[in-house]
Symmetry: none
Subunit: 310 residues, 2 copies
């Protein structure tokens, strides 16, 4: 495994792929490798891209890869689907679309689907991001499918979060409910060749003005990802946000906050993995029968289960 | 504490009040008392009342107490405010209004506000409900303020959930979004002396028809809580729902499902409390510094903390 970390860092993509699988699954070798590579993290700019399915995230990501490559950056893309146990369907199609970069050694694309990792995909995502960061990529783009709580949690790993919406999508209540207003550092109205663009942009700007005042004025960028219009503006807005984070000292402040959140959620994930909450666990099933039969209260049963496994 | 449980079950209200405080705070004595009283639970009908502030929940609760007392039932009311760390303001006024029953020994009224209980108020509420149930009340009315997720979670403790709306409130999207359509077993259009009652009732009936088909046809009752109109109908609808649950076997099926949900959330709450106890631990603070400085990854740090304390 020492070789795997060294080879991955030296640019061996096959070694990187194997390393990520170990880290995603939190195998003993993966845990050790993560520990080895972690001190090398902190270089990459972590860019989150979130939005409803079909909003055009993958096409935008494709365009952003080209922009970043034009600036000489090495780019990793992590496509995360918290809703699917498999990597297939739409997200597979998206990956195929991104294959325009397949012969470019400066681009690495990886999918992550929900399939029983330690702590779930919300916990596996920051582990894999750490590997990509530690492997030396300058930009790690984390693209999530959907706009639920899992996506918001995953987006919270990013230094800069881009939220993609479409014209006509602009139901302010819906955006607010999905928690997107709070996480977006840059908003994109994609498919700006469609009707109601001005309305969507105005809706967004008005909603954003209702939020807590901030030193960073959240830009709303119009793009047509398919023909590349607006991608320069988006790439500039992302760079401006990165510069803002660096010059104001917010980058390290927010990374410190994330480090603490990640440590707490790692503790939670470890405890949960040690606890018998699986429906095929005899201790859990016995406790459940006792609670149903009211011979034991749920809180005593919880303590007993935690004690039994601790 | 043995005495406290025995005295509370024998009708001593002062003992009951002290017992509830211990159970709410999950003190060691409170945990033991809850364990002692739990086998006596299952007798009470748990009735949830939810609706926007000002919808008239407390006045309706007042009327339902009178109905239940007329039937010879002993009634406990638990007024839960997930939004407030104190029991004051509007909810205090409501409590004062309910004092018309203060000299009736068959009625017990208690408020519960959000103030750092184990697992938060969503977890403290079922513990206190269990005490009231185990203390021998025939009907436990759980009244929540507001219509957010916390209120919906708390309402999920009830055998029968009553959702209170007002004329003009009838924005179908808002009701659907608040998750009220799914949880309501009985809907009340209160303040039925105001305009637009027929519209509100129609809106509700149409929305309810869009839901999943069910053996229970959700009734929409019109009331004017201040003069008592419609309270007989509401009390009958609640009784009909209770009978429906019993005759179809849904009561025990749903209570079994709730037992499992409660066991899982108790396990989660215990884990959270274990994580929190680590945060003022020197080992935790050292690990946090290491994670922030990237000399240690969060997952190794979590294992180290748990190993050191386990």
């Amino acid at each position: 495994m020492d070789d795997l970390v060294g080879n991955a860092r030296a640019g061996n993509r096959r070694a990187l792929a194997r390393l990520i699988s170990h880290v995603e699954d939190a195998t003993p070798a993966g845990r050790q490798a993560l520990s080895d590579i972690y001190p090398a993290t902190g270089h990459a700019h972590i860019l989150g891209i979130t939005g409803a399915p079909g909003a055009g995230k993958s096409t935008l990501t494709d365009g952003l890869i080209a922009q970043a490559r034009g600036d000489g950056l090495e780019v990793a893309v992590l496509a995360v689907d918290p809703t699917s146990p498999f990597t297939g369907g739409a997200i597979l199609g998206d990956r195929v679309r991104m294959q325009s970069h397949i012969d470019d050694h400066g681009v690495y694309i990886r999918s992550l689907a929900s399939r029983g990792q330690l702590g779930g995909i919300s916990e596996a995502t920051p582990r894999v991001i750490a590997v990509l960061d530690g492997a030396g990529f300058d930009l790690v783009i984390v693209e999530t499918v959907g706009v639920g709580q899992a996506e918001v949690d995953i987006a919270a790993n990013a230094d800069t979060s881009v939220v993609v919406v479409n014209p006509g999508w602009g139901d302010s209540v819906q955006a607010a409910k999905a928690g997107l207003l709070e996480i977006g550092d840059v908003f994109v109205v994609n498919k700006a060749d469609r009707p109601n663009v001005a309305e969507a942009v105005n809706d967004l700007r008005q909603m954003l003005m209702l939020g807590a005042p901030s030193e960073w004025e959240v830009p709303v960028v119009e793009t047509v990802a398919l023909d590349g219009s607006g991608l320069d503006d988006l790439w500039k807005a992302i760079g401006d946000h990165r510069d803002h984070l660096t010059t104001t000292g917010r980058l390290s402040a927010e990374r410190n906050l994330r480090a603490e959140a990640r440590l707490r959620s790692a503790i939670r994930a470890e405890i949960e993995s040690q606890v018998a909450t699986h429906t095929d666990d005899p201790a859990y099933l016995l406790a459940l029968e006792a609670v149903r039969g009211r011979t034991m209260d749920p809180w005593s049963a919880a303590l007993q289960i935690l004690g039994a496994s601790g």
